[in-house]
Structure formats: structure tokens, C-alpha cells
Symmetry: C2
Subunit: 261 residues, 2 copies
């Protein structure tokens, strides 16, 4: 736990030794790493509280302030949630607060509350072998088993989002259209509780496209209606990609909202 041999140290005899050895990791970063390990190994599960700052300080033999700084960063990354007077909890996609953390489509008038919950329809759900680009996105090899899901989300009865998504077959063994349809709540919450896969961050590439006939029909669109194409890769711990999602959003009544800070 001291700095004489931090994890990031490179052996002095390494083949391609770096010119400088920037390796220095503060104690609180190391603590952060240890907490992260406990989260990954499900020692503390989503929704549960983790030990108090004092307990963790004793466990890791550091001061409370150091644990605090580690937790601060994890809370900032939305991996933990602090609740004054109650404790620190493992974040979960099931909470209403963060229900739509990754969905940035909002109605032009009103907000998600006035609009009410989305109606979901699973169009398709099947296992198949990963094509080259799917495999690359998910860090798999072409031909590996993946699960493909297609669904439509409607707001106030109007089909608004068409999504295709691909999941690696191994971690999601046993996921079926029925289980998806039966589950009421965010899809990422189901992934957490049923498969122990927690999505912690994502990246999106957004384009304007014209839908093909199949997409147009599913969304009941007139011809020449441009759609927002949103390609998302969602990551679990360790920057491991766990989902590729290609969404097509109607933007005549909704828009993609983004805050730039």
C-alpha cells in the first residue's frame, strides 16, 4: 500500500522502457481501486450499502479522509451514491432518480414526467454469430455467439424509438424475449439483477439518416422522414464493452438533449 511499489510501476529492465517513470499513484487512488474490486466481485451488490467510512478506513489502514476522497470520486462516476445520515450505497439503474441516465431523448414540450412511461414492444430476440463489426465493437471474435434484440419504444402511443441491440452471448446466457417482455423497469436494471452486469458508462455516435423500408414501417413513418441514428457502446467495469445498441429516434416531437460543461 506504499508508493515504493505501486501497481503502475514498470520494471527497470523492461524491453521498451519509458523515458520517464511517471508511475506515482496516490493512496486514495489505490483505495479507489480496492473499492472498485469489491464492487466488481459483487462483495457489495447494487442497492446495498457499503461499510461506513470509518470501517473502510480501519480495513485499509488509512485515515477517514483518504477513504472519503476515494469514495468522492466513485460517487462522481455514479458508481456509488452517498446519502447523508444513512450511508453510502452501490448505485443501481433501478432507482427512479437515474432511470433514464443513458437516454437523452426528451419531449419538445413537457418532460419525462408529464409524458409518462414508454410502452415497450420486443419485436425480435434471437441468438446468432457475431459479424465482423459487431464483434469488434464488443471485443469478441467474429462468429462468437451474440444475442440480438430489436424493440420499439412508444410514447403516448406513438412509436418513437427503434432499437437494435447486441449482447455477448456468454454473460447473457438465458436471456429470452419473454424475460425481456415480462420485466417492468429499465433494461439495464434487469441486466444487473439477473446477470450481474452493471453498465457504468457509455459512448454514443450520432448521425442523421434516412430509414430503410423496414425501419420506416416499424415506426409508421412517411417517406423522407430523417431519423437520428444513435450508436451506443455501453461498458461495464474495466472498460469492458457489454452492449452495442443502434437506436433510431424520431425527432419531430422529441429531441436529443445534451448539456455541455
Amino acid at each position: 500500500m506504499n508508493n515504493s511499489s505501486p501497481q503502475t510501476d514498470a520494471p527497470a529492465t523492461a524491453q521498451e522502457a519509458p523515458v520517464v517513470t511517471p508511475a506515482f499513484s496516490p493512496l486514495y487512488q489505490q483505495i479507489k481501486g480496492l473499492i472498485l474490486q469489491s464492487l466488481q466481485s459483487s462483495e457489495w451488490k447494487p442497492g446495498e450499502s457499503i461499510p461506513s467510512e470509518m470501517e473502510l478506513a480501519a480495513r485499509y489502514r488509512v485515515s477517514q479522509g483518504t477513504v472519503r476522497k476515494a469514495i468522492d470520486e466513485l460517487a462522481n462516476d455514479h458508481l456509488l451514491i452517498r446519502k447523508q445520515g444513512k450511508g453510502t450505497f452501490v448505485a443501481t439503474h433501478a432507482e427512479h432518480q437515474v432511470q433514464y441516465r443513458f437516454l437523452k431523448l426528451v419531449p419538445d414540450q413537457g418532460d419525462l414526467n408529464t409524458e409518462g412511461p414508454a410502452q415497450r414492444e420486443i419485436v425480435d430476440c434471437k441468438r446468432l454469430r457475431a459479424s465482423a463489426d459487431i464483434a469488434r465493437a464488443l471485443g469478441l471474435r467474429p462468429g462468437d455467439a451474440v444475442l440480438q434484440v430489436r424493440r420499439v419504444l412508444s410514447f403516448a402511443g406513438v412509436p418513437t424509438i427503434l432499437e437494435d441491440l447486441w449482447l455477448p452471448g456468454t454473460p447473457f446466457k438465458g436471456l429470452t424475449a419473454e424475460r425481456l417482455a415480462d420485466y417492468h423497469g429499465p433494461m439495464y436494471a434487469l441486466f444487473e439483477t439477473e446477470f450481474g452486469v452493471r453498465m457504468v458508462r457509455a459512448e454514443e455516435k450520432i448521425r442523421a439518416v434516412l430509414p430503410d423500408k423496414g425501419q420506416r414501417d416499424l415506426l409508421q413513418l412517411p417517406v423522407n422522414t430523417p431519423l437520428l441514428s444513435v450508436e451506443r457502446i455501453a461498458y461495464t467495469y474495466n472498460d469492458t464493452p457489454m452492449e452495442l445498441r443502434r437506436g433510431f429516434y424520431r425527432t419531430d416531437t422529441h429531441h436529443y438533449h445534451n448539456a455541455l460543461n
Copy 2:
């Protein structure tokens, strides 16, 4: 500076007295507010260093740790930039690090470095009276003077972005097409140095649209090419809107990149 009369206190005799008085503002938040005032009043200008933590602690009669926490938050908001060993500096849009902080369009292959800088062409720049929607967005009254700018950005010679932007007339008195064309560097950097207006955050509404003929010609597009419509409102201190920008992005060679945390 004590909590007996924080800024957020509400008079007990207020007409619509809240049921609870949550008014409690930590010391470091008050310090943050004081630093913010100095930034607004240009006591410290963009690019300059602010006093050291010890000096500020003495000035505000608090401990260094309290000042540190205030600065931490301001650095997180990108209002200040900390440089170990050198000092803390007022953030500026002129630095290469944050040059394109608000532009999320990136090339499909390579990155901004391989692509090189954008070519800019000012198509139009004129003063006019604000329409109802422009006025609403900028917090003005319809008929107030505004500056309207239209420009095209090209990458590797290919027109890629068409932007219309509106600025409130008063703060930007003296801005002309010539000054815009002559200035080499980010537009927001010019706003800082020439008009003392620093943009600190922005919000964007993104849609997929089909361009009209005028837009199509300026971007030299074939018919039926959908574009990304990006409507941005940029704010300076105190959440004061200072710019409305309507951008149209080609997304056949580029995409809008967004990180979800």
C-alpha cells in the same frame, strides 16, 4: 461569512414562506461564490493566474483546505485550471487543450489532429431586430437589437458545418464580419478578449432534418441528404444566455460524439 446569515437565507416574514428552511450553505460554497464574483468582475482575467491558495485563505480568513475545496469545484466546472507547481489559472477558450470543448463533431476516421484545423468562411453578418423565438432564447424582448452571423466550416476542403448564430447586440457592440474573418482562433476566444464575454456552459437540442435549398447549396449537398440539426444556447456567468446557435452538420464523414457517464 458565518452561517447565521448565509446568502441563501429567506426572511422569516416572506410572503410564501417555505415549509422548511433548508438554507445552509457550507463555508466553501460561500468562498466559491466570492471567487466567482472576482471572475465575473474580471478581477482575474482569462489566462491569468489567481492568487495562491494560501493567499486566498488569508484574504477570506479561512483555512487552505476550505479554499481548496472551493477551487476544486470551480476547476471541475472548467472555470479554473489547476497546474501543479505553477498555480491556478482562469480558464480560457484560447488554449489548445479545450479549443473545441463545445464542438462534438469528430471525423469517423482519425481525430481532430489528423484532420487539421477547419477552414472558416463568414457568409453573412448583420444587425437586426430579434424575432420572438430568438428573443426568448436570449432572454431579450422581441425587437431588441441582435447580431446575426452565418458561416460555413470546412474540413479538408469539404463544407461540413453550416451555422447561424445570434448574439445580443449590446454586449457585442462593434463586432463585424471583418473582425470575425480576421481573427484566427476559436470564436469564443475572440468573445473573451474583445468583449469580455466568457461562455461557461451550453445546452444543445439535436434533431435529424432535411435541409432546405439554401442550406443544401451552401454545403454543396445532393438532395435528400439528412443533416444533424444542433441548436445550442451558450451561457456566461449567472446562467445568462449569450448566444443562440443553429448548426447543421454533415454526418456522412463525421459524427457527433457523446460520452455518457
